[in-house]
Symmetry: C2
Subunit: 117 residues, 2 copies
């Protein structure tokens, strides 16, 4: 899978010897790159990457109270990371009584995963 580049105005390089053959660059929308960058950015923190790992490996939904003792960070900080992941569309949550259960949205990782392969 290739990322489409929305080109900046093509500026001719000044005359003189070229350093190399021009790169092939497809046009239109850099939206795919932006979408994948959002996901990658959310995964760009060790805590969040491990959170996603735990949630993925645990098939169902995981209670926050089970996640907190896994990390050496405060509960508000963990909540902050979960929010980041939710904002990136990687996880979603569900309230049941006092508890909140988080789970991964598998499709959210597909585009990046396909591009990386």
């Amino acid at each position: 899978m290739a990322v489409d580049l929305e080109l900046a105005p093509k500026q001719k390089r000044p005359a003189g010897e070229r350093c190399c053959e021009p790169v092939v660059y497809p046009d239109v929308q850099r939206e795919a790159a932006s979408r994948m960058a959002v996901v990658a950015k959310a995964l760009g923190d060790p805590v969040r990457l491990q959170l996603v790992d735990v949630l993925r490996r645990h098939a169902g939904k995981v209670c926050v109270c089970e996640l907190v003792p896994l990390f050496e960070i405060s509960q508000p900080t963990l909540s902050h990371h979960l929010k980041k992941l939710r904002d990136a569309g990687i996880v979603d949550s569900e309230r049941r009584g006092l508890w909140a259960y988080y789970y991964v949205i598998p499709e959210a990782l597909e585009e990046l995963s396909a591009w990386l392969s």
Copy 2:
């Protein structure tokens, strides 16, 4: 592929009803997560992700002078992004005379790619 969690000191939750079955969490080293987070963080910018995309699609090494006109950012900013990618171990470069050629180190993406799949 699973990320190994180096556990924080296991703290027993206070008595009372449990919200759910305890999560299975393997021990040892969070190093894998840290390594992958470094790579993901570097890909967490649209410009850098497109840079990697261009370099990957272009089999060989690509001259910086060919990359600059592809983006609407200044040459120093592009240089900054290339440095970030190099610091993350995703690309490397080679000087030939006046020109600098960048190329992707494919193995750098393998661990993250495998984990995502």
